[in-house]
């Protein structure tokens, strides 16, 4: 081809390309028929509601635009979460807009599923209920834990049908914990733990930052105690057989042999009883307790658990010297045969240390405590298998997936004579075997009340336009079960109940409650005083009988499998939300897949490497999973998170990952606690290998100054050079990684000796962010909120393996090369540098430095050279390799104020420019400057621990500017002299 031909072809090609590049805009504008009072097109309206993604019941504010909810944020008035949300709460929207949501009832026929109308379904349900007849447990109800009004309705229903109480099935229930409180204190409840008031926190596996009781609340309380404040921070020690996210946040994590918690706790009780005799322990407890722990011994316990005796002795001394110690028992993911004893010993140790139990509050117990024990659930399943149930109603739970007897249940549902109705919005594992699947309204679409803590009613209201014809669950129950219901529909029934039980008798009270999101008391209730049970000595027998685990596991070939509840999927209900699949696991950084974590020793024994697929073989089932190597797990353990591996649950969940629950034996402890540890019969390589879809480049930072930690007093001792441009680490300011000073992205951050670029003068504001690494727990709520706010595409497993994930904000986790159990979590988003390397390499000037310091990415200017991403040291720029899809109706969640990016352009964090613009609008309306703290980007808004702060660096009084003066302040890779506007505060480590 000669030059002219080339030019001709190129010219033709580019013209054809340009002509083909036209968007297809919407051609019709629909006007409303009647305008609702509170809907202004183009402006959001906020409705308070309740998150029902887990039994904690956080308050949410639903941001509604033109009838669609586009974002969930925490309700600041709500006592549980106080304005923040976890990643599952953020992703609740993807349940409402799930493309696989059932819109009509599905009836199973011989020819497969048949869609019927809601009226037909209700009539069919009524006929089946009449045919089943009353009494003798012929009709049974299995439901997730519901709020107090719905519980009252279901109890009425059970009475109406003369059948047993409804079984509230929660896969992650805390039977051992309840039993301990019942047996020792006579309180059959799950209390509130005041982590915030403790100065020493010792957890024996309770994963309170992930799924345990009320994770958002405990994340906040934990950081109130554990964040550095005036040179002090509380101490948190975690002992568990594998490192969970909670353990990764401990000052010291001790790896212990599985199921050795009770042994350790007994030894600690004995030690404290012997040494700390000045404590006011009631005599009636002291004597039987001393007898129960008589055979315990610290050194022996340390040997059994496999931790260093000196470390345990040190911990025991810490317990004695601590002023306000608090002990937490095990979590759902570490429940072994002695889990009852563990919880009881933890409670007793608390009692011994603090006879008043002043940090355990029974005045507002968790609603989760009303969940049926696994024994009761198993009894129901036995009845089902025996064919005694004529009509089984299952509401929002998935026993086929979450019980190890799932296959048995599925068979019983398929083959049994009885009729099963699944009130589920998805064709999930259980619904697929039911006879009728009846979708009902979700929490964002219905009137309801839920008390995550008993007595603290949080309300739900329809926060969005009615998209579907589906009725509320309460309405179905009222219509089919009560021929002549006293109140008309469930809303009226709810109001009636609230009038009788909660004193909501006036319209004003009701409207106030709906606007606030619930009926919250201003003052916290008085803690309930607790007293010891009478028959304590019999209860203590269980403790004295608790045997240490057989000391064979480590050297034998068999491994113990732990199934950990997942921060992403909870018990599995989150597995069909694409955000939760796409945001990687906080510890393994693997998205979409569910690998089995093994210790390198175990891997050597089996002869596998990371990525090899192994076959896990237990007494009940086989499962294949890829291996993930981690040193933060006991060598005798294999760890899998639960939640994935659905046989049916929509496109994002089906055939993704594996379900380890099937490998469990299904045994329970004496109290009914389901055991999540199970011995594996064998584990063997299959010879296959897959690539793990992990998003981390490496596990360590190779000695670079990215995520930096310090120890108490270190920075303060070195001191700073005066002013804001202080040198890090007390050295004279220089040009090396160690000596480069903190250079603010402001004119004063420029120095003619270092800089060749001219100073950026900012007009009015210079936006910046503070990230306190000491507060970050790595939970990933910020990353998920960013997906929700900024219309970020979901790329899926394959593309993540290719490294093409689109997250604007990711959390890197860096392991300490000297001690891999020490992890620093490092939220990383666009740093909005003042000397941005991306800006200087773009041939078309698409990354543009704004007058308020933001690094703008102009999508329509970008031609996709990707030079900017190459030149960005943080790798926060994301390129759209494809047009990402939002299967209908997921696109209804998209934020209309944020451009949906198309193929071929670069994108990145904008500091939520749309929110900055809204604040500018308010400020201009009122002719003032933007207040400090008025702008909260989505990540800042949702952070449960307040690790992120956003504000104006130019304003010397602003919170961010004040925090820059913190001796811990540094810039990630600031030594490149790019003057990032995100200032990190070092994580504070303490040696225990």
């Amino acid at each position: 081809m000669d030059r002219r031909a080339f030019l001709k072809t190129a010219g033709m090609g580019s013209i054809a390309f340009a002509a083909g590049c036209s968007a297809k805009p919407e051609k019709t504008l629909y006007s409303l028929v009647k305008a609702p009072d509170d809907m202004v097109t183009g402006k959001e309206a906020w409705y308070a509601g309740t998150c029902r993604e887990c039994p904690a019941g956080c308050g949410v504010l639903a941001k509604q635009r033109e009838g669609r909810v586009i974002k969930l944020e925490g309700n600041p008035l709500h006592p549980v979460n106080r304005g923040t949300l976890c990643m599952r709460g953020q992703a609740a929207l993807q349940a409402v807009y799930n493309p696989d949501r059932l819109l009509r009832p599905q009836l199973k026929t011989d020819e497969g599923w048949k869609e019927i109308s809601f009226t037909e379904a209700e009539q069919l349900l009524g006929r089946k209920a009449a045919a089943a007849g009353k009494g003798n447990g012929r009709t049974r109800l299995m439901s997730e834990v519901v709020g107090a009004p719905m519980q009252a309705l279901l109890t009425d229903l059970a009475y109406e049908w003369r059948t047993g109480d409804p079984v509230y099935f929660e896969p992650l229930s805390h039977e051992s914990l309840r039993a301990a409180h019942r047996n020792v204190l006579g309180e059959d409840a799950l209390p509130t733990y005041h982590l915030d008031q403790a100065d020493l926190l010792v957890s024996f596996g309770a994963d309170f930052l992930e799924t345990w009781l009320s994770p958002v609340e405990y994340a906040r309380r934990f950081k109130e105690m554990h964040a550095i404040d005036a040179g002090h921070k509380g101490i948190f020690v975690h002992l568990s057989p594998y490192q969970s996210l909670t353990a990764a946040n401990a000052d010291r994590w001790h790896c212990i042999r599985p199921d050795s918690e009770a042994t350790l706790l007994k030894a600690l009780i004995k030690y404290v009883l012997e040494k700390g005799d000045d404590r006011m322990l009631p005599g009636k407890l002291r004597k039987p307790l001393a007898e129960a722990v008589a055979d315990a011994d610290l050194d022996r316990a340390a040997a059994v658990a496999g931790i260093h005796p000196a470390a345990l002795a040190h911990l025991a001394d810490r317990l004695l010297t601590a002023e306000r110690p608090l002990i937490l028992g095990g979590g759902c993911g570490t429940a072994g045969a002695s889990s009852d004893a563990t919880e009881m010993a933890a409670l007793l140790l608390n009692l011994v240390l603090d006879p008043q139990l002043s940090r355990i509050d029974f005045s507002r117990p968790q609603n989760l405590g009303k969940a049926a024990s696994r024994t009761a659930v198993n009894a129901l399943v036995d009845d089902l298998v025996a064919g005694q149930i004529q009509l089984l109603l299952i509401h929002n739970c998935n026993p086929v997936h979450t019980l190890s007897r799932g296959a048995e249940i599925a068979r019983a549902l398929d083959e049994g004579e009885g009729f099963t109705v699944c009130f589920s919005n998805f064709m999930d594992d259980t619904a697929a075997h039911a006879d009728l699947v009846f979708p009902v309204q979700m929490a964002l679409e219905t009137w309801d009340a839920y008390d995550g803590k008993i007595g603290e009613l949080s309300l739900s209201q329809p926060a969005m336009g009615k998209r579907h014809a589906m009725p509320a669950f309460g309405d179905v129950i009222l219509k089919t079960a009560f021929r002549d219901p006293a109140a008309g529909d469930y809303q009226a029934w709810l109001l009636d109940w609230l009038g009788k039980q909660a004193g909501v008798n006036e319209m004003g009270t009701w409207i106030d409650a709906v606007q606030a999101g619930g009926l919250f008391r201003d003052a916290p209730p008085k803690p309930k005083s607790v007293s010891l049970q009478r028959g304590l000595s019999t209860a203590l027998e269980a403790l004295s009988e608790a045997k240490p685990p057989a000391a064979t596991a480590a050297d034998a070939d068999t491994l113990t499998l732990a199934t950990a509840p997942s921060i992403r999927f909870f018990d599995g209900r989150g597995a069909n939300r694409s955000w939760l699949c796409e945001v990687p696991d906080p510890l393994t950084k693997v998205a979409w897949q569910s690998p089995v974590t093994l210790h390198p020793e175990a891997m050597n024994r089996i002869g596998v490497a990371q990525g090899d697929v192994v076959r896990l073989h237990s007494e009940t089932a086989d499962l294949e999973a890829p291996v993930y190597a981690s040193e933060a797990i006991h060598p005798a353990m294999a760890l899998m998170t639960m939640g994935q591996g659905h046989s049916a649950y929509g496109r994002y969940a089906e055939g993704v990952g594996g379900n380890p629950i099937a490998l469990l034996t299904g045994d329970t402890s004496a109290s009914g606690q389901p055991l999540t540890l199970a011995p594996l019969k064998a584990i063997a390589a299959t010879g296959r290998r897959i690539k793990l879809a992990h998003t981390d480049g490496s596990r360590t930072q190779y000695g670079r100054k990215i995520a930096v930690s310090t120890t108490i007093g270190e920075d303060a001792a070195h001191g700073h050079a005066k002013g804001d441009g202080h040198a890090a680490g007390g050295h004279e300011a220089g040009l090396t990684m160690e000596t480069f000073p903190l250079t603010l992205p402001l004119p004063e951050g420029y120095d003619r000796k270092r800089d060749i670029y001219p100073v950026h003068e900012h007009e009015g504001y210079r936006w910046g962010m503070i990230v306190d690494l000491d507060r970050c727990i790595g939970c990933g709520a910020c990353a998920t909120a960013c997906y929700a706010e900024n219309n970020i595409g979901i790329v899926g497993e394959e593309r993540i393996i290719e490294g093409r994930e689109m997250a604007w904000l990711r959390i890197e986790r860096y392991l300490d090369p000297h001690d891999p159990s020490r992890i620093t979590f490092f939220p990383l988003m666009c740093q909005h540098c003042d000397n941005a390397p991306c800006e200087s390499v773009c041939p078309v000037y698409a990354p543009h430095h704004s007058k308020e310091g933001l690094n703008n990415q102009i999508y329509n200017r970008c031609i996709g050279t990707r030079f900017c991403a190459q030149n960005c040291p943080y790798k926060v720029r994301r390129f759209n390799w494809f047009e990402w899809q939002w299967p209908t109706p997921l696109e209804e969640q998209l934020n209309p104020n944020v451009t949906v990016r198309t193929k071929g352009v670069m994108e990145k964090c904008s500091f939520c420019i749309q929110r900055i613009k809204v604040a500018h609008g308010h400020a201009k309306d009122e002719d003032r400057r933007i207040h400090d703290g008025e702008i909260q980007p989505a990540c800042v808004q949702t952070c449960p621990t307040g690790a992120l702060v956003f504000g104006d660096l130019k304003d010397r009084q602003s919170r961010v500017r004040q925090m820059v003066k913190d001796p811990r302040a540094y810039q990630a890779m600031g030594y490149l002299n790019i003057k990032p506007a995100v200032i990190y505060l070092k994580k504070v480590l303490q040696e225990i």
Binding site: T28, L29, G42, S850, I858, S910, I913
Partner: protein, 209 residues
Amino acid sequence: MELLITSLSLFTLLAIIILIATRGRPMRFFTAFGDTLMNLWTNRGPLFWTALTVLLVLGFLFYFYTPPQSWVGKAQPIAFSHHLHSGVKNIQCEYCHPYVGRSIHPGLPPVEKCLHCHNYIIANHWEIRKEHNYYDTNTPTPWRKVNYLAEHVVFNHQRHIKKQVQCVECHGQIEKMDRIKGKHFYMGFCIKCHRERNANLDCWLACHS
């Protein structure tokens, strides 16, 4: 205008024919008329195609530019006239587009708002009956969009109204249009005014996000 173009085109066509027929010497049309006819006949092929092309082009132009629809906007589901409502009756823009001063979108009037008046004014007119039909069947009216803005731009009406920018400055003399022609707004249009008024020229802070 149409007449002028047509007559000029036809005159040019006639001139071409004469020039060809007289071999470039037009006076021979009068002096040697027989020769001219002979030449015409010899060149009948090319002449035919030339005449056909010119007439087709003219027909095309007439077809697309002279009908009344080409001077007004798209036909809407209801024959609503902005000229009548805004011009003759002098109803303020904000009456039907009430959010213009407090939201990014001006808002379209809901069907019920039309009926606030039209329940009393020409209530039985066939176009108003359509309106009733939308209302009774609870159907949103599918108005055809006439103004287009690229999807990567978020235009905020509120800010412009607060800055005393009049509707006509961007949308033109709406009160004189029966059916609005509308337009595609391009960046140059925005930038010109932003420059003149010393308004925000920042990419994200002003328009994009």
